[in-house]
Amino acid sequence: MATVFLPYALRKYADGAEQVQVPAKTLRELVDNLEAAYPGTREHLVEDDRLKPGLAAIVGHVATRRGLLQKLEPDTEVHFITAISGG
């Protein structure tokens, strides 16, 4: 079961919850199951079957570069944040 830290703008779909538990073995499955449990979330996260441009997923402690293909360890945590590049 993954713990999803919901972006603030998506908390309205989950009665204001900061975190929700979602069963998933991959990030793709997580997004699908999140949408099933909290309709409306998917369009904020995915576009054309990939993470939306400018969005990064943090799995565990670090940003994944595998997008929706990212496998999830049991009891991992997932964050969706703005993708950042540096100077």
């Binding site: 603030y8 400018g54 944040i81 993708a83 590049s85 540096g86």
Partner: protein, 755 residues
Amino acid sequence: MVATYETKSDYKVIGNSPIRHDGVDKVTGRAIYGGDVKAPGLIWGDVLRSPHAHARIKSIDTSAAEAMDGVFAVLTHADFPQADDLTIDAGEGTVNLRRGQSNVMADQKVHYKGHVVAAVAAVDRNTAQVAAQSIKVEYEVLPAISDVDAAMAEGAPQILEGLVGDHLGENVENTNVARVFRHEFGNVDDAFANSDLVIERTVSMSMVHQGYIEPHNATAIWGQDDNLTVWSSTQGSFGVRSQVAGLLHHPESKIKVNYVEIGGGFGGKTVVYLAPIAALLSRKSGGRPVKLVMDRSAVFEATGPAPGGKIRMKIGVNKDGKIQAADTDLILEAGGFPGSAVGAAAICVFACYNLPVSRITGYDVLVNKPKSAAYRAPGSPQASFAIETVIDEICDELGFDKIQFRLDNAAHEGTRRGDGVQFIRVGLEECLVAAKESDHWNTPLGDAPAGKARGRGIASAYWMNGGGKSTCDLMLQDDGTVMLNEGSADIGGTRTSIAMQAAEVLGIPVEDFHPSIPDTDTIGFTGVTGGSRTTYTTGLAAYNAAQKLVVELKSRVADLWETEASNVEFADGTFTANGDSIGIQELAGKLDPTGGPATSTSSVNLAEAGNAYGVQICDLEIDLATGKTDVIRYTAVQDVGKAVHPQYAEGQIQGGVVQGLGWALNEEYFITDDGAMANRSFLDYRMPTSLDMPMIDTIMVEVPNPLHPYGVRGIGEVPICPPLSAAAQAAKEAIGKPFYELPVKPGRILEALND
């Protein structure tokens, strides 16, 4: 799953400071920069820029330019392919195609003074300039919006017409605020109510420029076969390729970007300005090579500085020295189009502290200034100034030691950043301890001479560092040397720091490596040199390529010695098996019968470069009659993970500090009432020089990054962050007046003294 490494300490190459491979070419003037590029039949391009900060383009008359002798092509936005309102991943972050095109060349409106309106290609540079200036543009001048307050005011004219803002997930029309977002964890208001002391301040800072010496340039040839060749000063050739392809609707496979040396970038050369114009001018000129070079005024007025803005910061603390809550509004200037560094600022703002609850609200605000771009740790210097200003006041108010308070509240492994992400191993506490034990911190400030005052400031800061895609190829030569191809633009000596990581694996002296940076057709995709990612990411590609080469060579040795590869051992540059041994460089000349040349390649796509922390101490002396400031002593402490090339690492830290001190004490976009930048030359835009600075002492703390085999962390960005607050707090201590506005320039100091 992310690979983690056990690091060792007995290196033979890592940790030394060999002479850089490109050093001789650079100090003798042989290195080829963008401005040096020549091609047979080269013609010159020039652009016409808007004299207004905000105006509607009513008409453009190019007839005089077109009729001029020696003019080959005239370009306006109408010559660009129709762009969709679509955001694409352009290799180095995202680009909205329609807005990106409009930033390169104005469409219907100009959003800042210096915005390109038209371009010309002509037989020589002078003719191109005269022709460009002959183009007549009729404008409807609109009120210029120069700061975030004016942009967010009720009834403010909308800069980007049609913009629909995303405000906490809701669509908002007729706004200059492109995005409002929030990170919130816990009940902040309750925590403030239960705090013994709550301090709330609003600070502001000006837009500043990276100030690289080399101006932007581009040369392009649009071939008869539609293959486009580009040379451009850039931090990433592949980023140029991706952006040009997106903005011109041209296949990436038909664009080749050649590497040229770069005279500074600091984040500002991750965006294309001239390359698409050079390309279209070349196409309209029948495929002639077209070259454009900006002048300094254009660099200031129309490239990508760091955003100014304002930040409200509120922190609650108990008398036991523990922070209870923090809340901030980060309001940063995007410039003429959306996309400031406010997202990164939000990640960094609370990252030095272990906070039980926090709230961060970010605002991306359009103003009539150039579209901001990355500048060394984008967003973090502004954020650091805000939080460290309030932390300093808390320590003053409650009598806390300024380092011990930070230690008592320091982020560490397991701490969550303000965006909720949890840290792995980080080295902030080690940096604070090193600062506490430093000679600087333990040496009294000393009495100021008559007519002067002295103060000491301290500040900490954070940058997350980047990862991304990189490629490295190795080719072992018959003479035992190694040709190394890598795709990262070499700004700070990375040819050498990358080669050193392969040299450590192979046991070959780094002087026997010949690093090259080929064009985009010749090396695998490699991201921009930025985000403090290059030594980490491209270095790891070199490490992996070297490991693969060792595996290949083991099989060659086994072939030579007629044994199994599993019997062959490799250590310290020597292969051994069954009592025989051979050095890798000797082996190189004996490979022909085993299959010929031995090569390897590795591409990586890494998560991030490990978090970086810096703590800095600034001693400032102020002339009480003139307000002039002199930095009299400065120490920068930083967790570098592992300094691959300590001299370069130290140079990165020192350079970052000096740029940060310029931001703190002198630099600003001085904007007139009509939205123009008044100080658009290096004479008037006062950056610190070596004559202004003392020796910047560095203390490099090495807390290995578990994501890299040598423990490397990114280095180049975090050192620019603490100086803003460290210098401001030093000024406060010197004259007893706080500074909430940057820069702390002489006039502002005199105002404070007379207040």
